[in-house]
């Protein structure tokens, strides 16, 4: 379940120091568009500042740098954060993130969670919380049910392929655990959102595309929607280390567009709101393409890919797909263009 070499290497990159910031305030809070109720609407996102994911005690996922935001916050601090949210909230739909699992009692103690349901639950009509599979248990589900509004539980499956989970993503989980957790959630009437990670390290972009589609096929009857998260490079992570050393390139927008279109055709609702899109650390083509990024978000919000398809068809991508094919033949995956530029810098130019 865990690849020791990999887990230890990830661990070695994690800083010993805790993050800074006001422990009485959330890490961040903003409004964005999402379609948790089946149509695009204003949705508030809040990231609570917590002690962080239980997995950080051992290692971390290869792409996850949320440990950078964690602190030794007290219960008192958490109450203050909730009060702050209650005072400033201005939408009906709320997504709650932590640097771990909202349902982990070591991260958010039971009484704090109940306080949250009490203060916030009454003000909103739809809630999304995130959790690792191990905290999706009947007693937690009962709690959520009591709020009296529809709740969606977001689970980071990342990939339905255990080999990748173990040897690339270092999630410390399995597809089986995801299936059990999703079934538990559904049994209690919860909706499920499943996160898939697009282009984990060490595999080709082509293999990553295949993995997304395979994963969607395996989970389409278990999840309400699927959110494809193209890699964005966070600080102090394995992926950042690889990227800095020319051993990783974030996926291209073209590939994301392709898996989104294919995913929507076979799956339940499939969305992608890329973090860091068209930035060096996020999903991007060699030449940034703002229009394509907009179309991806728009298609996700409307679950309508007509425009996106038209745009993609208007491009001649044959040499791009050839490159993707050629990259897939390399035994070790790197940032090929960077690697090539570097290698040829050892040679005189004509």
């Amino acid at each position: 379940m865990v690849n020791k070499d990999l887990a230890l290497f990830v661990r070695s990159l994690m800083p010993d120091t805790k993050g800074k910031g006001d422990p009485d305030r959330p890490v961040s809070m903003w409004n964005e568009l999402d379609r948790l109720r089946g149509f695009p609407e204003k949705t508030t996102v809040v990231i609570f500042r917590t002690r962080g994911c239980s997995w950080y005690k051992f290692s971390s996922c290869s792409m996850c740098g949320y440990f950078n935001d964690t602190q030794d916050v007290t219960e008192e601090n958490l109450y203050h954060q909730i009060d702050h949210v209650a005072a400033t909230l201005n939408s009906e739909v709320v997504k709650v993130f932590t640097s771990g699992s909202f349902l982990d009692p070591m991260e958010i103690p039971d009484q704090v969670r109940l306080y949250f349901y009490d203060r916030i639950g009454s003000k909103i009509s739809k809630l999304l919380v995130e959790s690792r599979t191990e905290y999706i248990r009947p007693e937690r589900m009962e709690e959520l049910k009591k709020i009296g509004i529809p709740v969606r539980i977001a689970i980071g499956l990342e990939s339905a392929n255990d080999y990748l989970i173990e040897n690339s993503i270092n999630k410390g989980s399995t597809f089986r655990k995801y299936v059990d957790a999703a079934n538990t959630a559904r049994k209690y009437g919860m909706e499920v959102r499943t996160y898939l990670l697009f282009k984990p390290p060490f595999i080709s972009e082509k293999a990553a595309m295949t993995d997304i589609i395979d994963s969607i096929r395996k989970i389409r009857d278990l999840t309400t929607d699927v959110s494809i998260n193209p890699m964005n490079i966070q600080k102090n992570t394995l992926v950042e280390y690889l990227w800095k050393n020319g051993l990783y390139r974030p996926p291209r927008l073209y590939s994301l567009a392709k898996v989104l279109m294919d995913g929507i055709k076979i799956g339940p609702e499939v969305i992608s709101y890329p973090t860091g899109g068209n930035k060096e650390r996020g999903v991007h083509n060699d030449v940034f393409d703002d229009r394509l990024l907009d179309l991806i978000v728009k298609s996700s919000l409307n679950q309508d890919i007509t425009e996106l398809e038209l745009y993609m068809e208007s491009l001649d991508l044959s040499s791009f797909w050839n490159m993707i094919e050629e990259e897939d033949r390399a035994m070790v995956q790197v940032d090929f263009e960077r690697m090539i530029r570097q290698a040829l810098s050892a040679v005189p130019e004509i």
Binding site: D5, L6, F9, Y163, L164, N167, S168, F202, I203, A207, T210, Y241, L242, N245, L247, S319, N322, M323, E326, E327, D328, R329, A330, M331, V332, V334, F336, E337, M339, I340, Q342, A343, L344, A346, V347, P348, E349, I350
Partner: protein, 510 residues
């Protein structure tokens, strides 16, 4: 099945199934990519996650190949790359061929072949072609169009030339003279500096000719091997006056105009003095070894100046040579640019500038010094030296008291009426005769143990049971079976290869 047609050190030229290596392989020619497997030269490996070396240096093994998957990463750190390949050599010997994936600098390929890599995949090279990087003999040109097919031509010609140079024994020259890429230069230097012992163990005893145009030549394993011999093992003939001379373009030196003048001027006095030639990149050549390899088989660009590295090498070598070989007097008849060498002479010495007008003076000085000394037979001194150099000190007592017989324009070493060795003047070496083979068996030198058969023209590696460690490619060897002499010949592989390989010619029988 791996079938080597020729070796040069760790480099192998041969055939694996229908593919001639070293080779660049790709989809449809040597490799078959599927979603679940990669089939390389018929060996299937599953698709899998392979980490970069910082997490774990991955080495894969198939029936015929050892695979280094992260070439693109390793080539940036030539030290790690060379260490990885050398690790494979010590673990696998010659039993498998090495495949390195992900090479994107085509100019590093000759150096990698020299390290012992036989297969490369073309995926990154293909990407470069479609990105418009055009490979030329002098470097890379960035164009705005797909140049894949031009590049393929360039690469296949390069691979053909590399293959040929392995079989011609000129690979080392080729790789030194094509250091287009700084990474290739680093690879060669690291191999030379840090892995001399390994390379010496497989480097041929002789190559056709050394074109010493680059400073890298100083560190050729065969030249270091020679210089070590002169510094650490060579003993001079029984003479106590040395005459130091510069080298000449013509080889052996004594046939050159400049040396002919000295020889003509000294005449009979020569049998009282030991002539020692100073040169680069081979350092010091006693006259008695001037016909051997490498002394007779190299050229250098001469501009009347020496690189600091060359001076240091020559001085150091002269010093340790002189420490082991005492002279009563040293006369240096040298041009000004060699004056630095005098610092390394610990005995009374006199410098005379190397000019025709000084020949008379040279003669007078030598005349004065040799008075009353005893002379030697120069031919005997030469053959003594060559035999010791070629076979080792152990041979001396066994041949002592020999006579020289000349037959069919060849000199032969004769003892008790038996011809022990025949001297090949063009190659500056002795060939072993049946009559002397026994000495090698008794002393455990240059022996190839074969299965029970009567060797005719070639002994194949399949028939080799064992071989003594002193054997390098091109060495004279004795073939034995259970202590019984079965023939003599020339090794075509280093000892380790003939033991481990199943195919290919191990010994050319005479």
């Amino acid at each position: 099945m791996i079938e080597d047609l020729a070796l040069f050190g760790y480099s192998r030229y041969g055939r694996l199934d229908d593919k001639v290596y070293p080779a660049i392989i790709g989809q449809g020619h040597g490799i078959n990519y599927t979603d679940t497997d990669i089939e390389i030269m018929g060996d299937r490996i599953p698709r899998q996650i392979l980490y970069p070396s910082k997490i774990k240096q991955e080495i894969l093994e198939t029936d015929k190949l050892v695979i280094v998957p992260n070439g693109s990463e390793l080539v940036r750190k030539p030290k790690d790359l060379v260490r990885t390949i050398m690790g494979i050599h010590s673990r696998y010997g010659f039993s498998k061929l090495i495949f390195i994936s992900g090479i994107s600098d085509p100019y590093s390929i000759p150096a990698l072949v020299y390290l012992g890599v036989s297969f490369f995949d073309e995926s990154l090279l293909q990407m470069e072609g479609s990105m418009g990087y055009r490979f030329t003999p002098f470097g890379v040109e960035k164009t705005d169009h797909d140049v894949s097919s031009e590049n393929s031509m360039f690469l296949s010609e390069m691979m053909r030339d590399i293959q040929r140079s392995i079989s011609n024994g000129t690979l080392r020259d080729i790789i030194e003279k094509t250091v287009i890429s700084s990474k290739a230069a680093e690879i060669i230097r690291i191999a030379d500096y840090s892995y001399y012992q390994d390379f010496e163990g497989v480097f041929p005893a002789r190559t056709p000719y050394i074109k010493a145009n680059t400073i890298e030549d100083l560190y050729r394993p065969d030249l270091i091997r020679y210089r070590n011999y002169i510094s650490e093992s060579y003993t001079k003939p029984d003479l106590d006056i040395a005459l130091i001379l510069p080298c000449s373009a013509r080889k052996p030196y004594s046939r050159s105009k400049s040396h002919q003048k000295v020889i003509g001027s000294l005449g009979d006095l020569r049998k009282f003095i030991h002539e020692v030639i100073v040169t680069s990149p081979i350092g010091i050549v006693p006259r008695d070894l001037e016909e051997t390899y490498p002394a007779r088989f190299y050229d250098i660009p001469v501009i009347g100046l020496w690189y600091e590295d060359e001076k240091v090498m020559m001085k150091r070598m002269m010093r340790s040579y002189m420490d082991r070989n005492r002279y009563r007097k040293v006369i240096a008849f040298i041009p000004e640019d060699l004056d630095f060498i005098v610092d390394a002479i610990p005995y009374p010495h006199e410098v005379i500038e190397f000019r025709s007008s000084n020949l008379q003076r040279l003669r007078e000085v030598i005349q004065r010094e040799v008075s009353g000394g005893k002379g030697i037979n120069q031919k005997i001194a030469k053959y003594d030296s060559v035999m010791r150099y070629q076979f080792g000190e152990w041979i001396s007592p066994l041949v002592s008291g020999y006579t020289i017989r000349r037959n069919y324009n060849q000199d032969m070493i004769v003892k008790d009426g038996k011809i022990l060795f025949v001297y090949n003047e063009n190659l500056g070496k002795f060939t072993i005769n049946k009559a002397s083979a026994d000495m090698f068996v008794k002393n455990g030198k240059f022996l190839v143990e074969i299965d029970d058969f009567k060797p005719t023209s070639n002994v194949y590696a399949m028939g080799v049971v064992d071989a003594t460690e002193d054997i390098r490619q091109e060495d004279e060897v004795v073939l034995v079976h259970n202590g019984e002499i079965r023939g003599v010949g020339i090794a075509k592989m280093p000892a380790r290869a003939m033991i481990e390989l199943k195919k290919g010619i191990a010994v050319k029988v005479r």
